[in-house]
């Protein structure tokens, strides 16, 4: 915390709302280009000194994510179902956002992900569409992200990956037992395993030390700064410019506009719940694929009665979900998967959608273990195991160290009926309308999960698992969603999309929307690399425009 300090009455060049994966990148790019930037973040400013190996705080209390006790969320499957309180959406809520607590999977999208409508065709009941940009438009920015943030991986090892202009800046992380078993099994099955690209340092990089294999990545903040969150990579660079202020505990609830319909700044509640207005020449919303839509809907005015940037009526629509299923296997010898990063091997053999299957969809599949002692005991055991008692206790003593997961990351079709909206009844503890989530799977989402799960089990079988079990594939088994995509989709036609190909609002000329909300399709999950590549690209064009 060493950046500039601005007054709310100072008209800064850019006001960034949200200091997460995208907001951190925007802050760095804009401030190093010489602009004055204020970043408003809902959550606190924590650092590596604040983080702990504390499962009660970080998995049970979900200490680094949104707290539904103060910011309730309601959920319903469809518009005719009653919306009930549930943590249906989960996102990082501190400086660094989700990049602080994510597993750190860092997959680029494939070339086909940007043109699936053309390649695959129409899907009944879904709004499958091409992106207005191609992979080649984004490639330089994927590369920039990988080098700026510090990504470990092995370029070219995945035969299905899109062309890369440069190798990863760091070699892949060493393989764990789950990766070795997965590697052997998938090769035996004629598949193509490759080292997982991870936003975790395999070697020292840019003044940060390499990972020490403590094992506390997913749900946790890294205590040695080896996870390449925006908190430890780009945000310190932004602050060092002396032109960027990161202002935590600042909960934005309205973007204001002037008589010409241009954004003038944003109203927020500070840590003492006082309302403050920060003036700015331009506003960049990076509040994640769920909160961004909610903020735009909250920002309605006489001029924008349906919410800001919403002339298309599509703000909040086409919400896509973090979809996948787990197959788990028990092995004869100890794996001790709790040590080290969660994921070391991946396959993309089943990634691309193929009309011959009779449904739209595909999957990336990885070898992992993302359990900690208590949540493993509660969630990781086979469904036919006892849930308490002497036999349960005995099983725990071997299962925790002898189990691994083969996890699928599957497609999620954009559907108009899936949305983020404002709950008409429930309010948060600031008195603002709560987020209402409406989501159900498309039949093809379910078909994809059903098609993929036997392949996951087949891998475990080929790896020699002595017992195999699986998670459910119902929507309820996929709640909460932590990948928040699609609610301000990108497109060339202002009637069919919310932002243009440079993440600029079609309706408000000085409003950028940069996060997972601009995704047209969900690819096969792991959205962070693409969120950040889009941020680098949006910043590049915003800087060129602002400098004329």
């Amino acid at each position: 915390m060493s950046g500039a300090t601005f007054k709310p009455s100072d008209t800064v060049d850019f006001l960034v709302i949200g200091a997460g994966s995208a907001g951190g990148v925007m802050a760095k790019e804009l401030s190093t280009a010489g602009f004055r930037v204020v970043v408003l973040e809902q959550g606190p400013y924590l650092t590596d000194k604040d983080y702990r190996h504390d499962e009660i705080r970080y998995t049970y209390q979900a200490g680094l994510t949104n707290d539904t006790k103060v910011q309730p969320i309601t959920y319903r499957k469809n518009e005719s179902a009653p919306a009930k309180l549930a943590k249906a959406i989960m996102y990082g809520r501190q400086v660094g956002g989700g990049s602080v607590h994510f597993t750190a999977n860092y997959w680029r999208f494939h070339e086909s992900d940007f043109e699936e409508r053309t390649q695959f065709g129409e899907v009944a009941g879904a709004g499958l569409a091409d992106w207005p940009i191609k992979y080649a438009d984004l490639e330089p920015y994927y590369t920039k992200a990988e080098y700026d943030l510090g990504i470990s991986g092995l370029g070219g090892a995945n035969p299905f990956e899109a062309p890369r202009s440069k190798p990863y800046p760091l070699p892949p992380m060493p393989v764990k037992s789950s990766g070795v078993l997965f590697d052997r099994a998938t090769k035996r099955l004629g598949l193509h395993p490759y080292p997982a690209p991870m936003a975790i340092l395999s070697q020292p990089y840019q003044g940060r030390a390499a990972c020490v294999n403590c094992g506390f990545c997913e749900y946790f903040g890294c205590e040695v700064r080896a996870k390449s969150s925006t908190l430890v990579s780009v945000i310190p660079i932004a602050e060092k410019t002396g032109k960027c202020e990161i202002r935590p505990n600042s909960y934005v609830h309205k973007i204001e506009t002037d008589a010409q319909g241009r954004a003038t700044g944003a109203l927020y509640f500070d840590a003492n719940r006082r309302e403050v207005f920060q003036k700015a020449k331009a506003v960049v919303v990076c509040s994640n694929g769920a909160e961004t839509a909610r903020l735009l809907l909250l920002s309605k005015s006489k001029r924008f009665p349906d919410g800001l940037a919403n002339s298309s009526g599509l703000v909040g629509k086409y919400l896509m979900w973090d979809t996948g299923a787990a197959a788990m296997g028990l092995f004869e010898h100890p794996l001790n998967e709790y040590k080290g990063i969660q994921v070391t091997r991946v396959i993309h053999d089943y990634y691309k959608a193929d009309p011959k299957r009779g449904f739209y969809g595909g999957a990336g599949i990885d070898a992992r273990f993302n359990y900690y002692p208590a949540n493993f005991a509660l969630q990781g055991m086979p469904p036919d195991a006892p849930k308490w008692g002497a036999e349960y206790k005995k099983m725990l003593s071997t299962y925790f160290t002898h189990t691994m997961t083969v996890l699928s990351h599957t497609s999620s079709l954009p559907q108009l009926s899936n949305s983020i909206s404002l709950d008409p009844d429930v309010k948060d503890s600031w008195g603002l309308p709560a987020m209402r989530v409406t989501f159900d799977f498309h039949p093809d989402d379910v078909a994809t999960l059903k098609w993929t799960l036997p392949k996951q089990k087949e891998i475990l079988e080929a790896a020699g698992a002595t017992k195999i079990w699986a998670s459910g594939i119902a929507v309820e088994d996929n709640i909460p969603s932590t990948h928040l995509m699609g609610t301000c989709r990108m497109g060339n036609d202002p009637k069919q999309s919310v932002v243009d190909r440079y993440n600029r609002s079609h309706d408000v000329p000085n409003l950028l929307i940069v996060d997972g909300s601009s995704f047209v399709t969900a690819a096969r999950q792991q959205p962070t690399a693409t969120i950040q590549a889009l941020a680098y690209r949006a910043a590049d064009y915003a800087i060129r425009n602002a400098k004329g």
Partner: protein, 186 residues
């Protein structure tokens, strides 16, 4: 895809007293830093003994120490005093239901703790599909396997049982198969 999804969903059922809970949450972290308290903060000793009897069947002390020795009941008391203050009501209404069940099944019994182990097991089978039992199980396992700073998992009893070590750093190899692969020169 998150592994603790259903748990979080089940935690979000009740939402009364938002501000009170928010305040409790803010103090929760500080409140749990010291060693276990000599007395209970929220539970009365009689109820605590009854809950302890149930948790001691969830993780029994057969073949080594269980929930009782790990001090799970102290974790539950701390949780209800701080970050799970909103779940006090679930205990306040849940325990009398269990007692009602006990009296129906074992009319001559005085308490859960006084039942034989065999009867305790029968009683738990009768309640194991209730939301309240799922809460007891969740609290028991976080108390047994969570960070010892919260009053449970004394002497790392839970971690020792499952083979978990809490260290700041580990060296490869971690398990049998990566050691084997390295040995192969793979």
């Amino acid at each position: 895809m998150q592994s603790t999804r259903r748990l979080w969903l089940s935690q979000c059922i009740g939402i009364a007293a938002l501000a009170e809970v928010a305040a409790a949450q803010q103090h929760a972290h500080d409140a749990v830093q010291s060693s276990p308290p000599p007395a209970f903060q929220t539970l009365d000793p009689a109820t605590a003994a009854e809950i302890d009897a149930i948790t001691s069947q969830i993780i029994p002390s057969t073949d080594g120490p269980g929930a009782h020795e790990a001090g799970v009941i102290y974790f539950i008391d701390r949780a209800l005093s701080a970050f799970d203050a909103d779940l006090r009501e679930a205990y306040r209404t849940g325990m009398p239901e269990v007692q009602k069940k006990r009296k129906a099944m074992f009319p001559d019994s005085a308490s859960i703790a006084a039942l034989t182990s065999e009867y305790q097991v029968q009683l738990i089978h009768a309640i194991e599909h209730t939301d309240f039992f799922e809460l007891l199980r969740t609290h028991t396992l976080y108390g047994f396997l969570g960070n010892p700073n919260y009053g449970g998992n004394r002497d790392h009893i839970g971690w020792k049982l499952i083979g978990f070590e809490d260290r700041m750093a580990f060296q490869y190899p971690f398990g049998y198969y990566d050691a084997q692969a390295n040995g192969d020169g793979k």
